[in-house]
């Protein structure tokens, strides 16, 4: 009984830890936003996460944009047009099935792919910066394709 309770608390603590860690972890669900009765501040990071989608995903070893990815970036593009004062950083990330150094290059390639798409859709380049974290900032932990697929992404965040 006691063990069970501790177990449940442990999981709760873990979840809380994840959610509070930083905006890039955890799949954005809008749950955090729901805490505010009036919803996220328009043009904010939370708004981007809840109402637009802050990330696009890539296939193994690829940086090509899927139709899903393009749809998300189209929404980001519209959102950026609506809030012209907002600047963003696009962070490229990789699963951990590549070397540290190769993945740093691959993450940059993914970030650049997302940036170039947004630029082509009309977002001024000066409003966007890119960075690669390689495999050092996994969203999901563990192993297997489900985990790795979540970690191959480009995440847009408000600066």
């Amino acid at each position: 009984m006691r063990l069970k309770l501790l177990g449940a608390l442990g999981v709760a603590a873990l979840l809380a830890g994840c959610a509070n860690d930083h905006p890039n972890t955890g799949i954005a669900t809008g749950e955090g936003a729901a805490v505010q009765p009036s919803g996220p501040v328009p043009g904010s990071e939370a708004d981007l996460v809840a109402n637009v989608g802050d990330r696009v995903f890539f296939a193994l070893n690829q940086s090509g944009l899927t139709s899903d990815a393009k749809a998300t970036l189209d929404k980001q593009s519209d959102w950026l047009a609506k809030y012209p004062q907002v600047s963003v950083q696009i962070a490229g990330n990789c699963d951990d099935r590549g070397t540290e150094e190769y993945n740093l290059a691959l993450g940059q390639r993914r970030a650049n792919a997302a940036r170039d798409y947004l630029a082509a859709k009309g977002t001024t380049s000066s409003r966007m910066t890119t960075i690669s974290y390689g495999k050092d900032r996994p969203t999901a932990t563990g192993e297997g394709e489900d985990v790795w697929a979540q970690n191959r992404n480009a995440i847009t965040s408000v600066q």
Partner: protein, 456 residues
Amino acid sequence: MVSTHEHYIGDREAEALAEAYVPRRLNRRALLEGGVVAGAGLAGSLSVAPLAARAADAPAAEITVDQARTAPIPIAIPSFGGSVGQNITQVLTNDLSGTGLFKVLPGSSMSGTPDFAPYKAMGAHAAVTGTASGSGTIRLEFRLWDVLAGKQIQGTAYTTSEANWRRIAHIIGDVIYQRMLGEKGYFDTRIGFISRSGSVHQPRMRLAVMDQDGANCRILSSSQTKLPAFSPVRDQIAFLSYNSTVPRIYVFDLATGRQHIISDFNGVPLGPHYSPDGNTLLVPVARGSGSELYSVNIASGAKRQLTSSGGAINVSPSFSPDGSQIVFNSDRGGAPELYIMSAGGGNARRLSYGSGHYGDSVWSPRGDLIGFTRISGGAFSLGVMNPDGTGERIMTQGYTVESPSFCPNGRVLAFCRSASGGAAYGIRTIDITGFHERGIPTPEGGSSPTWSPLNV
């Protein structure tokens, strides 16, 4: 390509080792030069004096490293006496045992000519005698003896600050290694690495340096750093800093604490890699969809583009020891593989053809091998191959084993092993034959090891 299951060593290699195991008389080689030690870089001064033997020092009785792998050299090492002497004995024993090439036996006599009969009876081939005296400034006398011939091989006295006792132990270890095996040792060296802590989702990654046995670990940066590289010739580390919004390459002098930024890349710089003379960095620069290799003169900042591969990724460049060629990792053919090209950037040709993908190309300072990481079937392998692409051997495997870095004599690699989920990052070492994998204790997690040259 070599298939690997339980055994990380190929059949041919095993045959060669069996051959080496055939007992033979110890080779007598020409007398090595005595007094091999330089003392700069210590806290305070170090004076080194040869200790007179009754006659000239006997020729070193040597066996080869290959022989010692299968039949470790039995060597008797006593306590050097007192607390400092005892500490030195412990570090020395750990160094020698840690290679797998020596079997350390307890010794009894601290000074004078040892009584060889009991040493012969316990099977020792070599014996050490030594005394440590003084405090504040210590004098350490050390002699190495050939038990079978009953003669002194080397005798040296070190006078230095007590604070240097660990380095003295490593220096003595290197003398023993060289006299017994005929090659320079690597105990008086350090390993730079990334010390990892905090959340696996956003780890803190700081530059750190430790002795090769894990002692004296120091964190050198407070900000995010990646991919450090030790200069092969001086007390200097280059690394990638995430201190600002754009990654930058720093060159950091460990002795003076001076650092400078290598800037003005037309793109985002990735991890730096030194040339054999320590004057040039090879740097991949990411731009568009790819990353091209540049050479950068550290002193002048002058840059030269070496690859032009139209959007392919080119990373992990490593010079051959003679500086004439560069091995690197590229996906120009569709997937990450190893390539080799001339130092000027021409004549690139593919080197790796095994299953899966390759990365982390690194040329041994001996010139005889190229170390690499291979990723196949969701698992990582650490291997070596000949510079012509033949003779691939896998040394060890795991969820992640990567970032190989050779010790100065090319006999051992440091690497990073980690479990899935960004957990349990640790620095380990392994003999290039795949024998003797060991962890190096670090205060936090560790990744991206880079082995220093012999301390100066």
